[in-house]
Amino acid sequence: MTGALEVRGLTTRFETRAGPVTAVNDVSFSVAPGRIMGLVGESGSGKSVTGFSILGLIEEPGRVTGGSVLVEGQDLRALKPDQMRRMRGRKVSMVFQDPMMTLNPVLRVGDQMSMAVRVHEKMSKRAAWDRAREALEIVGIPAPAERLKAYPHQLSGGMRQRVAIATALLHRPAVIIADEPTTALDVSIQGQILAEVRRLADETGTAIVWVTHDLAVVSSLADDICVMYAGRIVESGTSEQVITAPRHPYTKGLIESVPSLHEPGRKLPQIPGSTPQLLNLPTGCPFRPRCPRATDICATEPPRLDTDGRHVLCHHPLETT
Amino acid sequence: MSDTATTTGGTLAVPSAAPAETRATRLRNFWSDYRRSPVAVVSLAVIVVLLFVSFGAPLVSPQDPYDMAALDWMDAFLGPGTVGSGGYVHVLGTDNAGRDMLSAIFYGLRTSFVIGLSAGALALTIGICVGLTAAYFGGRIEALLMRIVDLQLSMPAILLALVLVAVLGQGIGQIVLALVVAQYAYFARTTHGAATVERGKDYIEAARSTPLPTRRVLFRHLLPNVMPPLIVVATVQVASAIALEATLSFLGVGLPLTEPSLGSMISNGFKYIHTDRYWLSIYPGIFLMITVVAINLVGDQVRTVLDPRRSR
């Protein structure tokens, strides 16, 4: 199976004062055109660093130390920096949690979007402006011609995020990496954007990696889910498989701790302890100290990927019935 | 050094699994960051030496330049390295009254440090009070206080100090007062800026909603968190107070020659700058420059180390 995006063995290290930290550890997944992959994890799980690593946006003291990132068969990691720059925005683009990361506060929306068009394609200013307007239409912005003349600060947070998504879509990229793009938005606005993104993936065939901590969001948006813990993907599968029949004890714990699945007022099942420090991970399986199923082998040997049907990184995966 | 961690625990000291971070360990971290710049380390060493020779002036200097009885007219204008009537080498020569230059410089440095440090400390205290009050209470109080500060910052400090000294008269106390008035505004502005940022944070709101008394919120919560930028400003302002005092004395409105400060010594020697008696003003000038530059270099490095944007 060839995906729009194939990540193989991606590894990213940071050299910190206290020693090296492997923020992304041998991460592999693939996303087919038109599909949405939810990359789920808690803080420090490496989910955002994975997104940045795919786009080659890791800065010192961090470095992608291994693996390959194939976009439509082309390895991004083999590219020179200026070739990579040309790929970004054209073949792969990114949407950040804070849309102001991509929007320039002193430029009108239309100016910066048409500039983004003309960086990669030769065309007249007017044609680029038209392209920008179309992109705004696609993401469901009402009165797009007006919005093009607005400055970012004149738009609401939800509107800005739509503009950022429209900008990411300008060149019909094969892949969009979206890093917590709705986390800062209100639920009613988040709902609107999720519905638009779903429609976009279906209509344009863009493959989307949706990085988030919110299981509920991915369960209603994504086709596939990868769950990350301490820099590794510990479980992956289709959304339905992962949400309804999790095999990794961590995934199960995460899902069970969501209040809506329980009778109000009852004690919630909780994962004990706190998310591990990447600097001193426990030996063997990093989830071991918090895991109810851990045995002696979990302390000594790192779990191997169980690829029997679904990917689970665990010595004692839960049985699916 | 492991013992230091347990001694500063205070009343709540209890053994814990991981060592609690104490003032001592924080100081140690600060120092390990600070010493990354050799220039700053040398500068700090220079300041320590200068502090020692100036405050220890009666012990280390060959002569007491204040003691008119010990001065001999015969020794006037001796060049550097000459042996005078006292039977010792005047390393940096003597001045027109027969004072040993090196001794006078040590004593003069002491005056400079006393003025610079006390003016800096007073200006810091007043500036903190003004800045904290303005930032915490806001509204009209803030508008009034900060407009006064802005007005003062728009005037050259030297001009303000000149006018004040002219009104107040000569003397160490008067100079310190003039410097404080000229300089507190920098501290007030810095405190205000930092405190305005901190005031909006939840821990201040939490303290207010407990409720804690205003004084406690100001001095136990707000103040400790605005100190880092103030320390940087303080070092720079001490240097500029020393330079400002020297300027005033040079212009003849500062200290009388009977209380030698570096400024009045330079001024005194300036008359002879075109003769071959260059040492009368050059050496005090060099000491002044070294002092001011060293303090500024230390301030720069402190700023770098305390910069929150720096990754630790």
Binding site: G158, Q190, Q192, G253, G265, K267, S274 | L12
Partner: protein
């Protein structure tokens, strides 16, 4: 019925920013007005009986955090008053609010911002009660350790600084600080919103335990509908500064009456509902600087009629014993057709 512990009586809060002298002069010349008034809260009345956990739910600009701060004595209301046990919680004008009670304590959203980074947690916990004479000396030391254990931490942590703790642990410390004041009412402002999912469950469990042990009353402010459903007895839904619906959690979640509540529930993705089963609300949240006339929700409401554009609906108890501020449930929207069956 006994008197409720917390009475919020017709509270309004407006923040106005008066322009500077220069702008005012320019305004006079050009005939404009640069003064900006944010209508954060308008005529909010709520009673919270002793022992109840009242959820306050809404999106940004709905005024839920402002309400929390007024109840905590940080802001003064522009109109109306807040009473605890019949006595006002604070007095004085904004900028110089004097909080009169220690019986209301607040827990903030971001535990990384709510603890003084330069104060040991033991002192952070003990300073309030010490200054108010609730504990002294050796007793305080014991009490701090006991409080830390009560929130699931080790007593020995008293000696550490906040940066040595994780987000979940810090939130526990913030809870211990609030409990140290022996409060009757806790105001939790998005207290679990910034925590990781697995840590959120821990802190919610802690809250539910403490509530039972200490018989606490609480105002639980949150945007997270599933969390509110889990811990709250009654829920007030807010929209643009007003309470639009008030009901027991059970009734509200079973059958929302206000079109906004209904739409809010429909737009929240929930686990296991499958792909795109939710229906988002159309339109944007209006600005509280310039709220729409009439019902603030009418520009986004599928059932809005002429009356909704002209007349502000009041929060009225419905025949079913619930309160809702909507013309649909109070004589109709004035529209020719009644687009929806009003439940009897």
């Amino acid at each position: 019925m006994t008197e409720p512990l917390l009475q919020i009586d017709a509270v309004s809060k407006r923040f106005s920013r008066r322009p500077g002298l220069l702008t005012r002069g320019l305004d006079r010349l050009t005939g404009t007005d640069s003064a900006v008034t944010v209508h954060a809260l308008t005529d909010v009345s709520l009673d919270v009986p002793r022992g109840e956990v009242m959820g306050i739910v809404g999106e940004s600009g709905c005024g839920k955090s402002t309400l929390g701060r007024i109840v905590s004595g940080i802001y003064a209301p522009t109109d109306g008053e807040v009473k605890l046990d019949g006595k006002p919680v604070a007095q004085g004008p904004d900028g110089n609010v004097q909080k009169l009670t220690t019986r209301v304590q607040m827990i903030h959203q971001d535990p990384f911002a709510s603890l003084n980074p330069r104060m040991k947690v033991g002192e952070t916990i003990a300073e309030g009660p010490r200054l108010h004479g609730l504990m002294t000396g050796e007793e305080a030391r014991q009490r701090v350790r006991q409080l830390l254990r009560q929130v699931g931490l080790e007593g020995a942590y008293a000696n550490r600084l906040p940066h040595q703790f994780s987000g979940g642990q810090r939130q526990r410390i913030a809870i211990a600080r609030a409990l140290a004041m022996e409060p009757e009412l806790l105001v939790l402002d998005e207290a679990v919103a910034s925590l990781d999912v697995s840590i959120q469950a821990q802190v919610l469990n802690l809250f539910m335990d403490l509530r039972r042990e200490l018989d606490l009353t609480a105002l639980f402010i949150s945007h997270d509908l599933s969390v509110v459903r889990h811990v709250c007895d009654r829920v007030a839904i807010m929209y643009l500064g007003r309470v639009v619906e008030l009901a027991t959690a059970e009734e509200l979640y079973a059958r929302p009456m206000h079109p906004y509540t209904e739409a809010l529930f429909a737009s929240v993705p929930t686990l296991g509902t499958g792909r795109a089963a939710f229906k988002p609300i159309k339109g944007e949240i209006p600005s509280p600087i310039d709220p729409p006339p009439g019902c603030a929700f009418h520009p986004r409401c599928p059932f809005a009629g002429p009356r909704c554009r002209a007349e502000v609906p009041r929060l009225k108890p419905s025949p079913q014993g619930r309160s809702v501020a909507c013309h649909l449930h109070d004589g109709g929207t004035g529209s020719e057709e009644t687009p929806r069956e009003v439940a009897a």
